[in-house]
Amino acid sequence: MDAQGEVADYFSAILRKDNDVSAGIAAIRTLLHFLEKDNSNTMQELDNKLSKAIAAMRKTDHPVTSVASGTELFQRFITLTPLDMSFDQCKASMLERGKHFLNKLTESRDKVAKTAAPFIVDGSKILTHSKSRVVLQTMKEAAKANKRFTVFVTQSSPDKSGEIMCKELEAAHIPCTLILDSAMGYVMEQVDMVMVGAEGVVESGGIINKIGSYTMAMCSKELKKPFYVLTESFKFVRIYPLNQQNLPKEFKYSASKLQKDLSKEHPMVDYTPPAYITLLFTDLGILTPSAVSDELIKLYL
């Protein structure tokens, strides 16, 4: 149990120290750290311990979706390690490759920004929801290329993360306007496209993102505006939600609220079905929603 507490602290510390790290990456870093420190003797033991560590992280008050996808990926990484040597050697190679793996994941945001930036053309108006690091990065990239565009950012209740987004855009000298969540429909007619990030991408090609994304996607569909999702590939999760109720509870509510009466609580995320998504920009390239399941099948087959 100690170990689990340590893991949770380490994980929270990473997120506290570095604002620029996504929860998924932080979870993987924590697990790598855990692996380094770990003194298990068999694969089975290691696996068990990892599962416990993962459970500990999921109980923290951080967005669970990307933790889930990141850790799942890590577990897959462990299982795919060739086992034709002694356990120690195996662990060493695991650590070695783990670093490589982490590097690749950290590069992915730049990759996404590079693929998506050309879609911001000079003079466009973009609507975005809440705060997304990859959307911010993409916009900075486009601004660096001397394109002039304006951004509308929703305030994004209840945590008002949109306000942070707005400040960061202003710091990058990108003209932006903070709007009420309820003004989505009002603004939609004047924007050229919608760009959002995602906490998780599910097997259907739909996304799990900050509450309100679904509303935004429906509005954009109605007004025929392209709805672009910018996301790193480690956010792909192996679930297939059919509707909002179908989403796992721990995804929707932070761990501390799960004990309370959920009917009185606000869900943190919603599920946007693939039909509303025009394209997904990932570090694997530009994907149509239907390509997501292909990727997941390739990995978990």
């Binding site: 690749k104 000079d122 394209l279 530009i286 990995l299």
Partner: protein
Amino acid sequence: MDFNNKTRIAKHLKSPNMTFDEPKGKIHKSFLRFVTDVKQGKYHGSFEITSKTVDLLKQLITDENFSNAQGMMDTIRTHGRYLHKALPVHASVGNMARRVLKIVREEYAAGRENKSEELDPQDSLHKIVTSVDIGEDYSSPVPDLKSGVLEHISEFQMELETSIDNIAQQAQEHIHSNEIILTLGMSHVVESFLRKAAAHRKFDVIVVDCEPLGKGHELAVSLAKSKINTTVIGDNAIFGIMSRVNKVIIGTHTVMANGGLRALTSCHSVALAAKHCSVPVIVLAPMYKLTPQYLCSYDQDAFNSYVAPDGVLDFSDHPTLSQIKRYCPVFDYVPPELVTLFISNTGGHAPSYVYRLLSELYHPDDYEF
């Protein structure tokens, strides 16, 4: 939006394909000539341009000497980039360079001693997780690479030549007796497709004329000669007649990576009318028309081409000449949700499946030259 009236131009993006300045000497003369000829309209239709491109690339590989696969690929890439830059509208030209690159990669992989190492072209989650080094440098010497590649290209040329026939072979599966088919403009694929179907079934064809560029009447004349019941209608009658139509069958200039089309103007109107009346839209697209490009904006560089506005307004119509703006764009963009089915030489595909076909056709590293 005020951008409709005024084009404000920001300091220009320094994107890679714009700042590339290829030393002219490196480009084979036949390629320079080819570009000039294409620009001057000496080739008819995209098929001619496409097959000519493959011929040129094949000739290039035959003529030049390469120490290894990397050198060969560099040369092809240089020429491919040149063609792509000089003829941005003709996507199939770039596609052919990509295809040939892919052929070189395949031949290289096949020729390597270590055949067990399979080269999965896709950058995938799987690869990230398994951390396979993609750092293949194609520098190892492979015996008979050149002859292998040339042979492979010849096979590909065969495939190219038969692609229209292959599409036409599928006609019977899609056209049934007494159906009313709507098509537009002049497309050789559509022409042979309908002819093939007419050999077995009886059906009516409505051809949208597509003024001023489409030459729909040419298609109509040709179909009528093969005893197909043909009606020509003007562009303005598209919506009116759509409710009577059973199927829309059209050709296209390019299929974009998301399954959208860059097709002759009027195609969007046809597709929208078809959607309204729930009429299936079938697009005949040989594989070489699939291109790994997306549409970012309708004003996108080189998405459209504009020809002399004589079809819109006569030059001698003087008093109006100086006060009216005239445009004559060649292409429409048709979004993928308006397309029901693509028929390529390998069979029928849904628009959402185009990305998959692309990943089989070209290596993702070659998407951007």
